[in-house]
């Protein structure tokens, strides 16, 4: 077993991270021998939504997997798991990024933001969330967290986009329900709410 990762320390880390103690993580913890030969630090710390979270991360693990299945942040969705749809969009240092196509180990030093981190501490919705409610932008809602994170990233870089600029900003996010028009209305309203 990884000498730096005792079972006790691992479980403590998982509890500290607030993750659901799924059978997967417990099984990994109890079966250190299964770890790949060649040592890679697995218990890493990542900054998610302003909190530093300790989490056990496999070498090939994607950020989407870590967020969803280790940290319980299921707001980040998987539509394709191969960089085609944008449902998994999160912000990495303010840049919208496909969490399915980013290795968690590569963002150890980064600031990661997910849809769960947008509300203010008193529960107020972020202007983009508020605008998406007012414009009824989501249909099925499965692409919505990704659209929101893309929109937040866009508005941080360009607080007053034209509709065309907003359209380009959301171009990496597919909506199979075809709610693009309503998402664009939402982004333009969010820019006004600011």
């Amino acid at each position: 077993m990884n000498p730096k990762l005792t079972r006790r320390r691992f479980i403590k880390g998982v509890i500290a991270s607030g993750a659901a103690a799924t059978s997967t993580t417990i099984w990994y913890a109890a079966n250190g021998a299964d770890r790949p030969a060649g040592y890679v630090e697995r218990l890493i710390r990542i900054n998610v939504n302003g909190q530093v979270r300790s989490v056990d991360v496999a070498p090939q693990e994607t950020l989407a997997s870590t967020l969803r299945y280790k940290l319980g942040l299921t707001g980040t969705k998987l539509g394709c798991n191969r960089g085609e749809c944008g449902a998994c969009t999160v912000l990495v240092n303010d840049i919208p990024s496909y969490a399915c196509s980013v290795l968690t180990h590569s963002v150890k030093a980064a600031r990661i933001e997910t849809v769960e981190g947008l509300e203010s501490p008193n529960g107020d919705l972020h202007p983009v969330q508020q605008a998406f409610v007012e414009e009824l932008s989501p249909q099925c809602g499965y692409c919505t967290p990704g659209q929101i994170m893309a929109a937040v990233g866009l508005l941080r870089a360009n607080p007053n986009p034209t509709r065309e600029e907003a359209r380009q900003g959301l171009a990496g996010n597919i909506c199979r329900c075809g709610s693009y028009d309503s998402y664009l209305d939402g982004v333009m309203r969010a820019a006004q709410i600011g």
Partner: protein, 807 residues
């Protein structure tokens, strides 16, 4: 009519969960002790499983068990076509053969790789016409088609017959299905312009954004299934049957669904949800089955493709006098779909064709399984007919809007093979409204104008789908605290109709929306049965049931008020969360008081007696569980009369680049004609969402299979091109007619499906316009087809290919 709720925007209760990420889809749940299932799927398009050796896999650490077709069908697999839970005779690549559960997905994948399956290869076919030709392979073991109540059959034409059809001639073989009305021969004889030609429309996958993952566990003999569905109770009742569990022991949990588009309406189209249920039962652990995008492609369904021929006659004044249409529809690997019939029915209604003959035959291919996809049939034919209508208009010297106004349905019209009356139809109004918003008279003057390599095309399209059912149930409760609970079995796939139809009940009781709780999301919340939520029917169907249940509640409230406060029930009305005497508003009771009084009285007031006998079984179960909890309104909806239609009209201007074959949509106006508008924002979303689907149908979407090995070549979003935001206009302008339908208590009908047809029709018409009236007779019309045409690389006859590139 002045309504309190109908026609007004509101915030549906689930929107906050959607923008915060809190709402849960099936894959977002976990359960203590949960293990993970992976699928072993067929690598070949048609085969028989000879043997399965899973011994090495089962001996691996962390593996809990496997589930095979022999486990789920101990008495043999069901006969006929249709998706199965698991199968020993796959008829398409990707069909699930077995499932394996392990401690995590990596272990499950490794274990699956250690399973040895011996397949016997069977003949396969990808193009229905190849199967139809004498000596051609059949997609299924029993033949290439399945005849209702008769079983498998092998439909064969002579090779000459197939070749002549491929070359564009009228098919001469007997069809499986046909209808006719009017004197076709006489109608053609009266026609001043007759068009004849063949056409194709492509099959393509639904590709809902949420893959159909599911999680199941058993507790105290009950099955809890977290799944995905567009119908909730409409699907759950049959899913209990597929799993083999009594309805009362089955809890289906489905707060939100990441898209359905027809493929998650009925249990039969998503039997894969039974896999974690059965596996969990077998290994006695919660099982999560995550479905990948590739798996969603292969088991997620597809639209039927058409290979057809038609002949259409127009009188000198532009009246569509005659239509003769013959369609070979692609039934894919698992059969299913009545799209061809629906396509013909649509033309009959949308253009009020005076005489008509439809002939159709459905043939299997070893490709994605087919089933309903947004406007199945109606939407494939809409983009084929629109440019033909424009050709007729040009030949006869009639304006393109005028020829549509002449042929369009209106109040009092009939349609389809039964010549069934429409409940109402305000299409002339919709066309005029759209023309005014689009500024058609000015815009049409820009038709075919050139600007360098760009040329302008103008298109007008119409869409239709029947948009309402009846015969379902409603349950509402007035709670002791005076709140109204509307139990709604409608699925939550993004239309918000579960909420907007609940407002019909709030309307009856004049109840503020913030005092209404919509009870939905899981079947143990005691929901009524609704129809499968397909066919654009929810708005019509469930405003009827909720309105009816609320009326039943109101009648009971009036009866109690008259009993306690004097007078007759008719002396009372409601408002301000009170029931009071019309003649003396100070004599009355609050809603909380009357709910409490109802509880004291019990019996029929609380669902403990005099429950309507004709309720569906699952509704009876829900009512029995709720009995005695509140003052209840219960309703079984009787059947409505005639055909409630959903109509749309679209006007568009495109700029087609003759150098690239691509086009920009410069403007698009789309108008809904769906009776009284229930929820303007929801309607706008259906119109713009349908528009994006229409853009995909006419310009991009098709699936592809490798002809040599039958492998799908388009399992991702990238290869099965779904429109992105950049393929759609920066603004789609919407509007609606908003005139009431007499067969619905608030006048409403559905819209989801026709929203797509009109847009696809307008776009193919605009493309044809930009290319001087050239008819591709196909959907999609891709950039390479446009470039080939411009380069003179074109054939008069459409090659009629299916599931691969044309030609």
């Amino acid at each position: 009519m002045a309504y309190m709720h109908i026609g007004k925007d509101f915030v549906p209760p689930d929107v906050a969960g959607k923008v915060t990420g809190r709402i849960k889809y099936a894959e977002d749940y976990s359960r203590e002790g949960m293990v993970y299932a992976r699928l072993l799927t067929s690598p070949i398009p048609h085969a028989r499983v000879v043997s399965i050796d899973a011994s090495a896999a089962l001996a691996m650490d962390g593996v809990f068990g496997i589930l095979t077709a022999d486990d789920v069908y101990p008495d043999g697999e069901p006969g006929g076509t249709g998706l199965k839970i698991l199968t020993n005779e796959p008829t398409l690549v990707g069909e699930p053969i077995l499932a394996l559960a392990a401690v995590d997905e990596k272990t499950a994948e490794s274990a699956i790789a250690a399973i040895s399956v011996t397949f016997e290869r069977l003949p396969f076919v990808l193009d229905p016409l190849d199967s139809l030709a004498e000596g051609g392979p059949d997609a299924y073991t029993g033949g290439n088609t399945f005849v209702f109540r008769e079983g498998f059959a092998s439909e064969k034409w002579s090779r000459d017959q197939v070749a002549s059809f491929r070359a564009g001639a009228e098919p001469t073989a007997e069809p499986q299905q046909q209808f006719a009305y009017g004197d076709l021969e006489a109608a053609f004889a009266q026609s001043a312009f007759v068009y004849e030609g063949s056409f194709t429309t492509a099959g393509y996958p639904h590709m809902s954004m949420e893959p159909r993952s599911a999680m199941a566990y058993w507790e105290n003999g009950k099955l809890y299934l977290h799944g995905t569905s567009q119908s909730l109770t409409g699907l759950a009742v049959d899913m209990a049957g597929i799993v083999g569990v009594p309805q009362e022991d089955f809890v289906f949990i489905n707060e939100a669904t990441g898209g359905g588009f027809g493929q998650r309406a009925r249990a039969g189209s998503i039997p894969s949800m039974a896999i974690p249920a059965k596996l969990s039962q077998k290994i006695n652990r919660p099982v999560m089955m995550r479905i990948s995008r590739e798996e969603e492609f292969t088991i997620g369904g597809a639209r039927q493709g058409f290979q057809g021929w038609l002949k259409c006659g127009f009188k000198a004044d532009g009246t569509m006098a005659a239509l003769d249409i013959y369609i070979i529809s692609d039934n894919g690997g698992k059969g299913g779909g009545g799209d061809a019939f629906a396509a013909a029915d649509c033309i009959s209604i949308l253009y009020q064709t005076e005489a008509m003959r439809f002939r159709g035959t459905a043939i299997g291919s070893n490709t994605g399984h087919r089933g309903a996809q947004r406007g199945p049939g109606q939407n494939q034919i809409a983009p084929i007919i629109a440019p033909i209508l424009d050709k007729a208009a040009a030949e006869l010297g009639i304006d393109r809007l005028a020829i549509r106004l002449l042929n369009t349905p209106q109040n009092g019209d009939v349609g389809g093979p039964q010549r069934q009356p429409l409940t109402s139809a305000y299409m002339p109004e919709a066309l005029q409204q759209g023309a005014a918003l689009f500024n058609y008279q000015e815009r049409i003057t820009r038709s075919r104008q050139r600007n360098g390599s760009k040329v302008t095309g103008i298109g007008v399209g119409q869409g239709y789908h029947n948009a309402g059912r009846s015969g379902m149930d409603g349950i509402v409760r007035l709670m002791p605290d005076g709140r109204l609970a509307v139990h709604n079995g409608v699925g939550n796939l993004g239309t918000y109709s579960y909420a907007s139809t609940s407002r019909a009940a709030a309307e009856v009781l004049q109840m503020p929306w913030e005092r209404v709780d919509v009870i939905t999301g899981r079947t143990d919340r005691n929901l009524p049965v609704t129809s499968p939520q397909d066919g654009s029917n929810s708005i019509f169907t469930n405003t009827r049931t909720n309105w009816g249940a609320a009326q039943d509640l109101l009648a009971k409230m009036k009866e109690i008020a008259a009993m306690d406060l004097g007078g007759a029930p008719a002396d009372y009305t409601v408002g301000g969360e009170r029931i009071y005497k019309i003649s003396d508003s100070s004599t009355g009771m609050t809603f909380a008081q009357i709910a409490q009084r109802g509880l004291q009285l019990g019996g029929k007031f609380t669902g403990e007696a005099e429950v309507p006998e004709d309720l569906n079984d699952f509704t009876k179960l829900s009512v029995s569980r709720l009995a005695g909890s509140a003052l209840m309104g219960i309703f079984h909806d009787s059947r409505h009369n005639n055909n409630p239609p959903g109509f749309t009209v679209t006007f568009t201007e495109i700029e087609l680049d003759t150098e690239t074959g691509k086009y920009d949509i410069v403007d698009m106006v789309t108008i809904g004609e769906c009776g009284t508008v229930m929820h303007p924002q929801g309607l706008k979303n259906q119109l713009v969402g349908g528009a994006v689907w229409g853009i995909g149908l006419s310009g991009y979407e098709r699936h592809l299979y490798d002809p040599q090995n039958g492998l799908p070549a388009s399992t991702g979003y990238w290869q099965s091109k779904v429109p992105t935001i950049l393929d759609t206009p920066a603004k789609i302008r919407t509007g609606w007619v908003d005139l009431p339908d007499p067969e619905n208590p608030v006048g409403a009908r559905g819209i989801g499906e026709p929203a797509m047809g009109a847009v696809s029709a307008a776009l193919t018409a605009a493309i044809s316009d930009a290319l001087d009236g050239h008819l591709f007779n196909a959907s999609p019309i891709t950039a390479d087809m446009i470039l080939n045409h411009l380069a003179g690389v074109t054939s008069e006859a459409v090659p009629l290919a299916q599931n691969n590139f044309r030609g």
